[in-house]
Amino acid sequence: MNNHLETNAAMAQARVSTPEAAQRNRRPRRLGDGLWVVAIMALPVLGLIVFYLWPLVRTIILSFSDGSPFIGYHLSGFESWSKVLHDPTLFTSLRNTLVYAVIVLLGVPIAMLIAVLLHQKGLRFRGFYRVLYFLPVVTMPAAVAMVWRYIYNGDFGLLNTFLGWFGIEGRAWVADPHTALVAVAIVGIWTSLGTNLVILAAGLEAIPAEVLEAARLDGAGSGKLFTKVIAPLMSPSVFLLSILSVIGSLQVFDLIFVMLGRTNPALGNTRSIVYFFYEEAFVRSDRPAGAVIALITLIVTGILTLIQFRLQKRWVHYA
């Protein structure tokens, strides 16, 4: 019944355009809508507050607190901040994470090459290739990390066998502090390639076929076609990709955690910022220190994203 009244009111409002009538009719309708809005939004907003907004505030408060999980926490100023900022592990783990992010970024050109090759018209086996390249995206990092650890094994790993064919001396890639981070980052490239291809494919599909044809008719070879036409037109999606890639890399944890284990001699040179967070907050149960590390992660992520947005003017072309 209420709905009919509402509908009638709406129709009356549409017909009668005197201001008084409109005002008289609008009020009950808005109230009815308001109740529906509350009914629909209550649960999502409650969850948002309990599991995201309150935690945000709580983490900030924790970072300025002192205490333990058992006796509780009280505000104490910058103690935890100064403790974490004086911990050399913070800087090595930040450095490791940045190096990891940069190496994984090198996967973008590889993805671009594959994406352009896959995009060719009338290419055979395209669906087949896509499935194979996409496979690592859907596989559990904890599981593939084990496989890669085996491949990288210094005594009987597949990689050393392969290098042996070329007379290259192998090593224990993941246990060696010099190579562990690069070894993990290569797995990072491998797992992200499929996602990168999908995002780049969307960018490639957005290039009008006429543009490509016009360039070809003007005598552009495939090399020139790529550097002068495709690459600039794809730059917005490459930009998006680099933003997502860096943000994702800053979150690296599973691969390092499972590939290295907790006692690996190379851990110092591989420990990521999230790994450090996990150790402080949940292994040593130093929640305030964990909160500080979380905030530092937030700040670093923000700065890196900002830098990328600044740099984009130099190389991203918006059509």
């Binding site: 907003v45 499935v131 996409f134 559990m140 650890r149 999908v198 008719l217 996990y278 992660t297």
Partner: protein, 325 residues
């Protein structure tokens, strides 16, 4: 690639007749001819001299070589994992390696079941996935509907808060989320695994974008017919959102199945762990039994791989939707 014989007018590829394929390779098989035609179409110009077609065909062959080589390296770890899961420990650690196991060792899988309560871990993973996916789709679609289709004061602020949460690194929430779950007395439970993920902004964002693109006449017409907002949501908007719901379902399933940090923090009881956490704990002491590790990790990633192979298009669209913010 410069084509001097190019005619002044381009002929649209649909009208290129068969005769443009020169007859001087009359002995060529049907397949070769078709390939030549395809190469012609690719170029979108009607070339008539052989010298121009050859580099195109070589380029195509070269692309296939690069693509196939790349694809081989992408799947090599999985092939190696599969082969090793059937080997004896000796076969797995011998140098130089043997490719195929002499006889398939099923007991590697049995040993994995001995080392971990696999059935329990699998159930935990699956239960938390189902709860999380259903909860996330429901909560996210309600929020998205409210924000995209209903007008209310403060809607912009609420939307802004949802989006802000999406941009903040997850570590910012984890410690207090853990405290909330602990205070609710839910550590080591399925709801602990699923809960924060149910309220994630991720699904809201995808559904919001999708719902905003639907014409507003839909709601208005339904409203005139006497439908209330919840009816419009359930009967009109949600059915139209099927592609977005599929994307959210797939991505949330992936997150839930593969997640490590949150389940590790919140469910420490060995019987309450997820499969991924169970695997990670194996990495410690008994990590020398490689065939068993390969068998276990294979079993852990297989369900998602099978679902992916069945629903390739939806997976790829899911990534595309969540990637192209």
């Amino acid at each position: 690639m410069r084509d001097n014989n190019r005619p002044n007018t381009t002929v649209p590829n649909t009208t290129v007749p068969n005769t443009t394929v020169p007859n001087n390779n009359a002995g060529a098989s049907n397949g070769t001819q078709r390939r030549a035609q395809r190469a012609n179409r690719t170029n979108q110009t009607n070339q008539t001299n052989q010298t121009n077609r050859t580099p195109i065909r070589t380029a195509r062959v070269a692309s296939h070589i690069v693509l196939a080589l790349g694809a081989f390296f992408m799947v090599l770890p999985f092939i190696w994992q599969l082969l090793t899961s059937g080997k004896t420990l000796r076969e797995a650690t011998i140098v130089p390696p043997v490719i195929f196991p002499e006889s398939w060792q099923w007991e590697n899988f049995a040993k994995f079941f001995d080392q971990l309560p696999v059935g329990m871990l699998f159930t935990n993973s699956l239960a938390s996935l189902v709860v999380r996916v259903i909860g996330q789709v429901l909560i996210a679609s309600l929020a998205a509907y409210g924000l995209a289709r209903l007008k209310f004061p403060g809607a912009k602020i609420v939307l802004g808060l949802f989006l802000m949460v999406l941009m903040v690194p997850p570590q910012m929430f984890i410690i207090p989320q853990y405290e909330v779950i602990r205070d609710l007395g839910w550590l080591n439970s399925v709801q602990a695994l699923a809960l924060p993920g149910i309220f994630s902004s991720f699904g809201m964002f995808i559904l919001y974008q999708f719902m905003r693109s639907l014409p507003s006449e839909l709601d208005e017409a339904a409203k005139l017919d006497g439908a209330n907002p919840l009816q419009i949501y359930a009967r009109i908007i949600m059915p139209l959102c099927a592609p977005a719901i599929a994307a959210v379902t797939i991505m949330t399933s992936l997150f839930a199945w593969n997640d490590l940090l949150w389940p590790m923090v919140v469910n420490t009881d060995p019987n309450r762990m997820t499969l991924s956490v169970g695997l990670a704990t194996l990495q410690g002491a008994q990590s020398t039994d490689i065939p068993t590790l390969m068998a276990g990790s294979l079993l852990a990633l297989l369900p998602m791989v099978i679902i992916f192979l069945l629903l390739q298009k939806q997976f790829i669209r899911g990534i595309a939707m969540s990637g192209s913010k």
